[in-house]
């Protein structure tokens, strides 16, 4: 039986004729193209529906516009959240999604600064936590894109690192200005979580191993002051 198994291994594979291979590719290529067109149409319809919903929401009135600069202690602040969610639904490409997360992170940081100035530490802490949630989502986006398109992922990662570096600078200044221990603790925690987002973004997405550049989740001494690549 061993000999028979070995004999089977030596059977030469049958190769298709070159003409069949060309004919096959022509058929497959046309089918793939058609399939992509159908999917694209489906996405277009989805975008139109979302755009219509977005338009309806945005036309609700002056309250929406007025809410844009509202702060967490304002009555208009919940409307701001709804508008932000609609914006998020309209961000389709990875680049647009990253822009969305980074802008929201910056907005939350600005709100946190304002709340600290008004001695509303509870709201400041919530805003800082929300900022880090956005950075975490952005890092997960970068990590996922690494499995799809490494070139785009590298660009997204660089943008994320630049944003986190900027935020960290702002947080460091804020930390130096406040004297309240609770506020200092909240800021320190926010900086730590931002550093964790850096680690996530620098991790390859296949099995959680660090990326080949030596940085990543396995690097316990990763700097909380990220430096973007240039």
């Amino acid at each position: 039986m061993e000999a028979l198994a070995e004999r089977l291994r030596t059977v030469e594979p049958m190769a298709p004729s070159p003409a069949a291979k060309i004919r096959g590719w022509n058929l497959v290529s046309a089918a793939v193209q058609q399939s992509a067109t159908v999917r694209s149409r489906g996405h277009s319809v989805k975008r139109l529906v979302l755009a219509a919903v977005a338009a309806a929401v945005l036309l609700v009135g002056g309250a929406v516009a007025a809410s844009a600069d509202s702060l967490p202690d304002s009555a208009l602040y919940p409307i701001k959240g709804v508008v932000e969610q609609v914006r998020g639904a309209l961000a389709f490409s990875p680049s647009d999604q990253l822009t969305y997360h980074l802008e929201l992170a910056q907005t939350r940081l600005t709100e946190a600064e304002a709340m600290i100035a008004r001695h509303r530490l509870d709201l400041a802490s919530q805003a800082l936590s929300a900022m880090d949630d956005q950075l975490g989502d952005a890092a997960a986006l970068v990590k996922a894109e690494k499995g799809t398109d490494p070139a785009i992922a590298a660009d997204l990662e660089n943008r994320l690192l630049q944003a986190i570096a900027t935020h960290d600078g702002q947080l460091a200044r804020l930390q130096g200005q406040v004297t309240n221990p609770a506020a200092q603790s909240a800021i320190l925690k926010a900086r730590d979580r931002a550093a964790q987002a850096v680690q996530v973004a620098q991790t390859s997405n296949n099995n959680g191993n660090p990326s080949p550049n030596g940085k990543g989740s396995g690097n316990a001494s990763a700097s909380p002051h990220p430096t973007p690549k240039h």
């Binding site: 039986m1 000999a3 028979l4 198994a5 070995e6 004999r7 089977l8 291994r9 059977v11 030469e12 594979p13 049958m14 190769a15 298709p16 004729s17 069949a20 291979k21 004919r23 096959g24 590719w25 058929l27 497959v28 290529s29 089918a31 793939v32 193209q33 058609q34 399939s35 992509a36 067109t37 999917r39 694209s40 499995g147 799809t148 398109d149 490494p150 296949n206």
Partner: protein
């Protein structure tokens, strides 16, 4: 010399994502990676080049245009492609009947009636291919995948939806059946 290339792995995943976005270059790469293997697999089952070409093309078309279904399968892309090829082969059997279309007279049969005395090197490839088609569907599948396609028992287990142990047991029984089939052909 075998020229079927290595079995696919996680290397396929970035290509699959690109094909989903309509990238023709990625589709071409996957087509080149799998078409010959699938053709060889189907040919071993059917024994007719024309049918094997049609089914290999059909398999590749389905594989690369129904990637939305693949996402939910939870198996390697290579396993998925082989499963589609297997199902296409079964459909072909149902439509046309499971027949051996290569005339037996064309085959060079071994002279010895005793399998233990068969000189394996004297068996022609066609002898083996013909005898293989006398086996059950699963026995054919396991021998083709293991020995013609050079897949590991674990890879075959993934394709056939069985445990590795079940594949090894099936392979053992299939080799025994093939020996008997060769013996029967020699006696006739």
């Amino acid at each position: 010399m075998r020229a079927l290339g290595k079995a696919a792995s996680d290397d396929d995943r970035p290509l699959i994502e690109r094909v989903r976005r309509g990238d023709q270059d990625a589709a071409r790469t996957l087509y080149e990676r799998y078409f010959d293997r699938i053709y060889n697999y189907v040919y071993a089952r059917l024994g007719r080049a024309e049918d094997a070409e049609d089914l290999a093309i059909d398999t590749m078309t389905r594989s690369l245009t129904r990637l939305d279904l693949f996402q939910d399968q939870g198996v390697a892309f290579s396993s998925w492609v082989y499963r589609i090829a297997h199902n296409a082969t079964i459909d072909h059997y149902r439509r046309h009947g499971k027949v051996t279309l290569v005339p037996l007279d064309d085959a060079t049969l071994p002279q010895s009636a005793d399998p233990s005395e068969l000189a394996m090197e004297q068996l022609s490839n066609e002898d083996l291919r013909l005898a293989l088609r006398d086996l059950t569907d699963e026995q054919q599948q396991v021998l083709i995948l293991r020995f013609f396609q050079d897949l590991t028992a674990a890879q075959v287990a993934g394709i056939m939806g069985k445990s590795v142990g079940a594949v090894q047991a099936l392979q053992h029984r299939a080799l025994g059946s093939l020996e008997r089939a060769l013996q029967g052909r020699a006696e006739n």
